[in-house]
Amino acid sequence: MELFLQQVFNGIMFGSTYAIVALGLTLVMGILNIPNFAHGHLYMLGGYVTYFFFATLGLGFWLSLLASMIILGMVGVVMERVVFRPLTGQPPINDFIAAIGSLVFLEAFALAVWGPQGLRITNPYPETFQFLGITMTVQRVLVIVAAAALIVGLHFFMKKTVLGATIEAVAQNREGAMLTGINVNRVSAITFAISTATAALAASFLSPIFMLSPSMGAILGMKAFIIVILGGLGSIPGAILGGYILGLIEALGGGYVSAAYKNVFAFGALILILSIKPTGLFGKKEA
C-alpha cells in the first residue's frame, strides 16, 4: 500500500510537469495552429537559463526562476516572429519541419554553450519528510503546488481578463478577431511567450531535482505533443488531464510492470484512447 501511494505521488509529480509543459504547447497548437515540436527543447533551454542565473550569477532560486521565465518569454516572441510567422498559410507539415530545425539548433546551441556534461542546480529545498508512509522532498511537493497554482492562474487569466478572451478569440476565429480590432500578431507573440515561459517555469522547478543536458527536451517534447493530442487539440482541460493520466500510467506501469516498457504503456494508452475517441478526450467533433 505504501509502495502504491509512493508511486501515485510520483505519478502526480510527473503529471504536474507534463501538465505544465503540455499546457504551453496546447496554447500554441490550438491558437496558432503551430505544431511546435521544439517545445521540449525550449523547456531544456529554460532549465539552462535558470542554471545560468542561479549557479553562474548566483541569484536566488526564485529570482532565477523569474529571470528564466522572462528570457524564455522573449525567446518565444523571437521564435514566433522569426521562425513561425513567415510560415503563415503554409501546410502544418512545414511548421513541423521548421520546428525540427529549431530543436536541432537549440540542442546544438546548448551543447556549444554549456557542454555535454550534465549540469545541476543545488536543491534549495532538499528537506525530506514522511507523509502517509510516503517519502517526499519539499521540492517535489513544490512542483505539484506550482502546477496547481499555474493551472488556477491560467484559468482566471483566460476566463476573466480581456487579454485572455482575445487569446481565445484568436484561437476560435483568427480573421474574426482581426476584424474586431485585435492585433492578432501581438496576441500570437503573447501566446507564444506564455507558452515558453510556462516551459521555463516547469524546467526551473525541476532543475534542482533533475540533471540538465542538451538532449533532455527530446522525449519530454514528444510526450507533451502526445498529451496535447490525447486531451484534444487546443483544449486546456484536456492538456491538464492528459498530463496527469500520462504521469500516473508511467509511474504505475514503470513501478509495477516494467521500466523498459513504461513509455510503451504511455504511448499505448494514447493509441487506445484515440481509437475510441479519435479527436481526443476534449476534442471537437471534427478535427
Binding site: 509512493q6 556534461q117 550534465g118
Partner: protein, 421 residues
C-alpha cells in the same frame, strides 16, 4: 515535367563538386581517426574518449612526433561526430580512411563498432579499429583488424562481488541502466552473486539516458530492504540515483557498474563531499591509481579540456600511445596488419610514462589490470588491483614483476572464466 531537368542536372553537378572539394590530409601527417558521439545523449562520453586521444597526440607531437623508417611525422587526430548512428559512423569511417588516409580509427560504442567491423577489412578501406567497449560481444565477431581496449566488464563483476562479500553484505537489489550494456551487467552480477551465496531481492532497471527521476524504481527496490544496491549507468545520473535513494531513506551501500565512476560522481554531483555518498564499491578513483604520472596528467587534462578527467580519457590516451609506438616499431604508417602485429613489441607500457599502462595482448584484447576502489566513511580506501587473465598462480607471480606497484594498491589474482590462458 520540364522542371525536372534542372534539378537533376544540378544534383549531378553537386555530387561531383562535393567530391572534388573534399580535403586531403597533408603528406607529413599521420592521421588517427575517431568517430563517436560528440552531440546527443552520448556526447560527454564520446568527448572524453576523443580528448584522451587528442592529448596523447599532443604529447607525442611535443616530443617531436614519430619517426617511421627515418621519416618524421606529426600525429593528427581527426574526430567526427556520429551521434551513435551506424549510417553516419560508417560514412565517417569511410571518409577517414578514404579521404584522410587514416589507418587507425577509434570508436567507443558497440552499436557503431559492429557495423565498422563489417567494413574495416575491405580492400578499399582497410583500417585498424580501436574499439572501446567492455562487452565481450566484440570477440564473437571474427575480425583481424579490431582491438578491444578496456578490460571485460565481467572482471569488474567478479571483483565487486568479492569486495561486497568481504564487507559482509548478503542481500542486494539492482537498479541498473537499461540497454544492452546494463542488461549484460546485471545478468552477470546476479549470476555470480548467487553463485557465491548472496541474494538478489529485486531487479528494476531504469533508463539512465532518457530518465532523470528514478524515484519510482527506487521506491520499489528500497521497499525490499536490501543491504546494498547495484546501480549505475553514465556517471551523473548514477550520482542522482544515490542522492534520490538517500532522500527516500535508504541507508545501505552501493555497488556501481563500471560505466559509472565514483570519483567523477563525488566531484561533479556531490561537489567533492564524499561523505554524502555513503559506502560505495566501484571502479577505482583515478587519484588512487598506481602510476606516478597520474597527478601531473590529471592537472594537464583538466586544464586543457576544462572538464573532469575520466577513465575513458585515460585508457584511450594509453591506447593511442600504443598505436603510435607500434607504427614506429612496425616501420609503417599505412599497413594496419603490421601495426597490429607490432603491438606485442611495444608492450608492456612504461608506468612512469603512461598513466594506465597496458601489459600485453590476448587475441583482440589489450590487457590491463582491473582496478576497484571503495568509499568508506567519506574516504577512499586502498585500490584493489586484479590480474584476471593468467591461467594459474605461477603465471600470475611471473607477471607481477612487470606490474607497477605502489603502497596504495593491493594486487591480487582474479581467475576469470573464458580468459584464462
Amino acid at each position: 515535367m520540364k522542371h525536372l531537368i534542372l534539378p537533376m542536372r544540378m544534383a549531378v553537378i553537386g555530387i561531383f563538386a562535393w567530391a572534388a572539394l573534399s580535403t586531403n590530409a597533408l603528406a607529413k601527417d599521420v592521421v588517427i581517426g575517431f568517430t563517436g558521439p560528440l552531440s546527443g545523449p552520448g556526447a560527454g562520453y564520446g568527448r572524453d574518449v576523443l580528448n584522451g586521444i587528442k592529448m596523447a597526440a599532443d604529447d607525442i607531437n611535443k616530443g617531436g612526433g614519430i619517426t617511421v623508417k627515418g621519416k618524421k611525422y606529426t600525429v593528427k587526430v581527426e574526430g567526427l561526430d556520429d551521434r551513435i548512428d551506424p549510417t553516419i559512423a560508417v560514412n565517417n569511417a569511410r571518409r577517414l580512411s578514404s579521404r584522410s588516409k587514416a589507418r587507425v580509427i577509434f570508436n567507443p560504442v558497440f552499436n557503431t563498432i559492429a557495423p565498422l567491423m563489417q567494413i574495416n577489412q575491405q580492400k578499399t578501406s582497410q583500417f585498424l579499429l580501436m574499439a572501446y567497449s567492455s562487452t565481450p560481444k566484440i570477440e564473437q565477431i571474427p575480425n583481424d583488424l579490431t582491438v578491444s581496449i578496456p578490460p571485460p566488464f565481467t572482471a569488474y563483476v567478479n571483483a565487486f562481488c568479492d569486495m561486497a562479500w568481504k564487507k559482509g553484505w548478503r542481500k542486494g537489489a539492482m537498479m541498473v541502466t537499461l540497454g544492452a550494456y546494463g542488461d549484460e551487467w546485471r545478468e552477470a552480477f546476479k549470476h555470480h552473486w548467487e553463485e557465491i551465496g548472496g541474494e538478489i531481492l529485486a531487479d528494476k532497471p531504469a533508463n539512465y539516458y532518457t530518465e532523470t527521476d528514478f524515484s519510482a524504481q527506487l521506491s520499489a527496490v528500497i521497499a525490499t530492504h536490501p543491504e546494498f544496491l547495484l546501480i549505475g549507468g553514465p556517471s551523473e545520473p548514477t550520482g542522482l540515483v544515490i542522492e534520490q535513494a538517500h532522500n527516500l531513506g535508504f541507508n545501505g551501500g552501493f555497488v556501481l557498474v563500471d560505466q559509472a565512476k565514483m570519483d567523477y560522481i563525488a566531484d561533479v554531483v556531490f561537489k567533492g563531499d564524499l561523505s554524502k555518498m555513503g559506502n560505495v564499491i566501484g571502479v577505482a578513483p583515478i587519484v588512487g591509481l598506481p602510476s606516478p604520472v597520474i597527478p601531473e596528467w590529471n592537472k594537464r587534462y583538466e586544464k586543457e579540456y576544462g572538464v573532469h578527467d575520466t577513465f575513458e580519457a585515460l585508457l584511450n590516451y594509453s591506447a593511442t600511445m600504443i598505436v603510435v609506438h607500434a607504427m614506429e616499431k612496425a616501420g609503417t604508417i599505412d599497413n594496419p596488419q603490421a601495426i597490429k602485429a607490432a603491438f606485442a613489441k611495444v608492450l608492456p607500457q612504461d608506468p612512469t610514462k603512461v598513466p594506465t599502462p597496458f601489459i600485453g595482448t590476448l587475441g583482440p584484447k589489450l590487457l590491463i589490470t582491473t582496478t576497484a576502489g571503495e568509499i568508506i566513511d567519506g574516504k577512499y580506501t586502498k585500490v584493489n588491483q586484479y590480474v584476471w587473465w593468467t591461467k594459474d598462480e605461477a603465471a600470475y607471480m611471473e607477471l607481477l614483476k612487470s606490474i607497477p606497484a605502489s603502497d596504495n594498491v593491493v594486487t591480487s589474482w582474479l581467475p576469470l572464466k573464458g580468459y584464462l590462458q
